[in-house]
């Protein structure tokens, strides 16, 4: 289906030349050395050694791998990627974290995928074609016939059914993706997915790396099962942490949740081979990542805060990619009077909505950040236009505060030790505090470590909360959780029945199949939220990818942060 694009042969040749060139010079070529000392960025550790060059002349020892991460010059053979780890497992069915997603995309293929950074249109991948019935309850996929696993066995419909049903029954972080959906192998190359309810978002869910396709026989042999009791009976995780069982562009060389996870190119990959033969994913604190990429100790870093990018942009040896992350940072005011008489008052909502200085807050999120007019991020279907964003109106806010009796004090909780896109919650909360003070609202900050803060958040006990929502899949249906009775709505003390008009829209949109009809409904949903809701969407922060220019082109991917397979292409 997805044929090899015409430019591919050229890229292949370049990749080969580079690889050969690097090999020809021995583990670390003499030229590399010269370049390194010129730019004064010798990867040290060798510095207190006599001299790496002398050592090479002896030719006796192999140089440390470390030296391969040379400065500007020929493309490095190993891609060193810094990420502050939230890695738990290499089992695709069990992972649902940012780092796990990056690894998952590289190791496992999915039925459908997104081409480049376009997350609005899923395209065939392991499936060569698919069709849905009219009410979006039955989806039929025809598989490619040229895909093989590492052990030589061909991809079959059973592998797909096993992998997808296993995810549902594992009852893990990503199981909700398959909620009410059953996969069945009809024949060797045909799979049917049946949903209990109309699920128009399913094609946008399927590219999620949690739904990566495993080699069913191999995984079954190693303790895997897709049965109802998989949550307890499945013991394949340990196996999958030592060896990958997918058809993806990379295979697992070393898995470690705390220091380094290493991927090696899959020699039998069915698609276009990746540019880099080896990828080292390192666990590095965000603060040190900037130093690492500037001194060429890393090729790509993923967690830089917007504030750190300014200076890097001027560096000719760096490629700084800045885009709006699809993560939404939002505030809420608890609607439950038992939690607070103040925050549950509609006047308070009005005061906050028109009292917040959105631009001053946005400033903290970096140049690539965007203000988000509704709760749905800008790259998804149904996002509101900029002009619909609530505008600051100090008089209106002050009047609302006066109606509350003036001088109100509320508590705002946020996770103190959590960072996303290099951005901490602390400064944002401080800005919120400062801008609300201008309209007469005293905000007391009550940060807590994430385990504790999540507990009060989930229990719906926070007066005000500052949190973020990362999209589970790039479809607006994911944002219905913010409505009355949705899981985030409940955390804000906003149960079903609180806003019948809004809930009617939510109900209607959940069962509408056609995107053209869904779009205006989602817009209506957000307009009503902006009028009466308890949520105050703030911004989508800058997501950054900073790479050494010798790495080749890199892209930020809104669904899985970075597509390692595409780096350098």
């Amino acid at each position: 289906m997805r044929g090899i694009p015409p430019k591919a042969p050229l890229a292949l040749i370049i990749a080969l030349t580079v690889a050969l060139g690097a090999c020809g010079g021995g583990e670390e070529g003499g030229t590399d050395e010269a370049v390194e000392s010129d730019t004064g960025t010798t990867p040290t550790g060798d510095d207190d050694a006599p001299s790496p060059a002398t050592e090479d002349a002896d030719g006796a020892t192999t140089a440390p791998e470390e030296a391969d991460t040379g400065a500007a010059g020929p493309r490095p053979e190993t891609l060193v990627v810094d990420k502050s780890f939230d890695l738990a497992t290499a089992d695709p069915g069990r992972q649902f974290e940012v780092t796990g997603t990056i690894v998952g995309v590289a190791l496992y293929d999915t039925l459908l995928t997104f081409e480049d950074a376009d997350v609005s249109t899923p395209v065939p991948h392991l499936a060569e074609s698919f069709e849905a019935n009219d009410d979006a309850t039955e989806f039929t996929f025809t598989l490619r016939d040229d895909v093989v696993f590492a052990d030589g066995s061909a991809l079959e419909a059973d592998d797909v059914a096993f992998s997808l049903n296993r995810v549902r029954n594992l009852k893990g972080n990503g199981s909700f993706l398959m909620d009410g959906v059953t996969a069945e192998a009809v024949d060797e190359r045909t799979v049917v997915l049946r949903a209990e309810q109309p699920t128009p978002q399913l094609p946008r869910i399927l590219p999620n790396p949690t739904l990566g396709i495993l080699n069913a026989d191999l995984v079954r042999e190693n303790g895997g099962t897709d049965a109802e009791d998989a949550a307890e009976a499945d013991t394949a995780e340990e196996f999958l942490n030592t060896q990958s069982a997918g058809t993806g562009p990379y295979v697992l060389e070393q898995f470690d949740t705390t220091t380094e996870t290493i991927l090696a190119a899959n020699p039998d990959y069915w698609g276009e081979p990746p540019v880099y033969d080896r990828v080292v994913l390192r666990n590095v604190e965000a603060a040190t990542q900037a130093l690492n990429v500037q001194s060429a100790q890393s090729s790509i870093v993923l967690d830089l805060a917007a504030d750190q990018l300014g200076q890097l942009r001027g560096d000719p040896s760096l490629d700084v990619v800045e885009e709006a992350s699809p993560n939404i940072w939002f505030l809420f005011a608890n609607a439950n009077p038992e939690i607070s008489d103040v925050t549950s008052n509609p006047d308070f909502r009005e005061a906050v909505r028109y009292g917040l200085d959105y631009d001053a807050i946005l400033e903290l999120a970096g140049d690539g950040a965007v203000r988000v007019p509704g709760i749905i991020p800008n790259v998804f279907l149904g996002a509101l236009g900029e002009q619909e964003a609530p505008q600051r109106d100090v008089d209106r806010a002050t009047a609302a505060v006066e109606r509350l009796g003036g001088d109100v004090t509320v508590e705002l909780e946020y996770p103190s030790d959590f960072t996303a896109n290099g951005l901490n919650f602390g400064p944002v909360a401080e800005r919120v505090q400062a801008t609300l003070a201008e309209v007469g609202i005293t905000v007391e900050l009550t940060p807590a470590p994430i385990a504790t803060a999540l507990e009060t958040y989930r229990a719906g006990e926070e007066q005000m909360g500052l949190w973020l929502w990362a999209p589970d899949y790039p479809d607006p249906a994911d944002y219905l959780v913010f409505g009355a009775g949705g899981i985030v709505g409940l955390r804000a003390g906003w149960p079903a029945g609180s806003d019948p008009e809004l809930e009617a829209v939510m109900e209607e949109v959940a069962t509408t199949v056609d995107d053209a009809e869904r779009e205006p409904l989602f817009e209506e949903f957000q307009r009503q939220m902006n009028e009466r809701g308890v949520m105050f969407p703030l911004f989508q922060p800058t997501a950054s990818v900073v790479a050494r220019t010798d790495v080749g082109p890199v892209q930020f991917h809104p669904a899985w942060t970075i597509d390692l397979e595409a780096v350098g292409r």
Binding site: G45, A49, T89, N173, A231, I262, N292, A451, T452, E455
Partner: protein
């Protein structure tokens, strides 16, 4: 008599270790917060099935006494449970992070022993002279500087600006680890004869170790100085001096031995606290040691890891105290007699 002494000591150690584990268990359960919340995703946490599966997997669905009892029984078989954070057996984690911290602590202690005792003795011998005064300011500076600040400055200046040291971590990216014997990369690489890895590992450990040593050097210098001075005031040293022996010889032969006893206490305590993990420096240097492990498990309420770390630290404390006592006996036989 000796065996009774050892037996009593052992019993005390076991009691202490038990107490530490019990306190860790109680503390963690007193803290409001749910490990499931910290480990499950934004969706799964609202799914009762997923929460139940998580609790079952980690035994959190059992009543507290049962959980604790089960922990102790497993402990007897050497099973410390599974960390929710790293998703590995806690024992594996400790076996990896413990040696990493030990490598750092040993290097820092070695640096501070050499410099601290040397400078301290020098200060004592040159008592009240300009050298003594200068050393006094320097050593007090060492114990006064905030280590997290020093670590940041060292990383920025020495590693990033001047490229004198490699950056964070234990080895270069993707570098193969030496075959594990002790878990300390420098030692393992040396044992394997892999000198390239050895140099890389040493380069990586040196900077954080030097930062850590700033404090212990200061401490040891001050301490050695006063211990040596005290001994210098003793009659037998004066007598030796009166006999016309040169100062250097007097110091080496008579003074050091006596002064060493209190110094060992300091070194022992300092080493124990380094080995128990120096959260701040490990965090800044992305050093995968006990300190950062303890910090991460504490913030995520990772109960098995917290108990494992506590047990580890208690054992270190017990062990170091034991070694210090033995060394006392070796250096100063009078103590053994009493």
């Amino acid at each position: 008599m000796l065996s009774r002494f050892v037996a009593r000591r052992f019993a005390a150690a076991v009691a202490l270790a038990f107490g530490v584990v019990l306190v860790a268990f109680l503390l963690t359960n007193l803290v409001p917060g749910d490990p499931a919340a910290a480990n499950l995703g934004q969706r799964a946490i609202e799914d009762p099935d997923a929460v139940a599966a998580f609790r079952r997997q980690y035994g959190l669905d059992q009543p507290l006494p049962v959980q604790f009892g089960r922990y102790l029984t497993n402990l007897l078989t050497g099973d410390l449970g599974r960390s929710q954070q790293t998703n590995r057996p806690v024992r594996t984690d400790l076996a990896e992070f413990g040696p990493a911290s030990a490598e750092l602590a040993l290097t820092a202690t070695a640096i501070s022993l050499v410099l601290g005792i040397g400078l301290g003795t020098l200060a004592a011998v040159r008592r009240d002279g300009p050298i003594d005064q200068a050393l006094r300011v320097v050593s007090l500076g060492g114990v006064s500087v905030p280590l997290f600040w020093l670590a940041l400055i060292a990383l920025y200046l020495l590693s990033f600006r001047l490229s004198l040291f490699p950056g964070a971590g234990r080895l270069g990216p993707g570098a193969p680890r030496p075959p594990s014997v002790t878990g300390m990369y420098t030692v393992d690489a040396a044992l394997a004869g892999d000198w390239a890895t050895f140099r890389s590992a040493l380069g990586h450990v040196l900077l954080p170790a030097m930062v850590l040593a700033a404090y212990t050097i200061g401490l040891l210098t001050r301490f050695t100085r006063s211990s040596v001075l005290e001994v210098l005031g003793n009659d037998y040293v004066r007598a030796a001096h009166a006999k016309g022996l040169p100062v250097r010889l007097v110091v080496r032969r008579h003074v050091m031995r006596a002064a060493l006893v209190p110094i060992i206490t300091v070194v022992g305590t300092a080493f124990a606290s380094l080995l128990a993990g120096t959260v701040l420096v490990e965090q800044i240097f992305s050093w995968p040691g006990i300190g950062s492990y303890a910090y991460r498990s504490a913030t995520t309420l990772d109960l098995p890891a917290i108990m494992g770390v506590s047990l580890f630290v208690a054992l270190v404390y017990i062990f170091v105290n034991f070694v210090v006592d033995v060394l006392y006996g070796v250096i100063d036989p009078r103590i053994r007699a009493s």
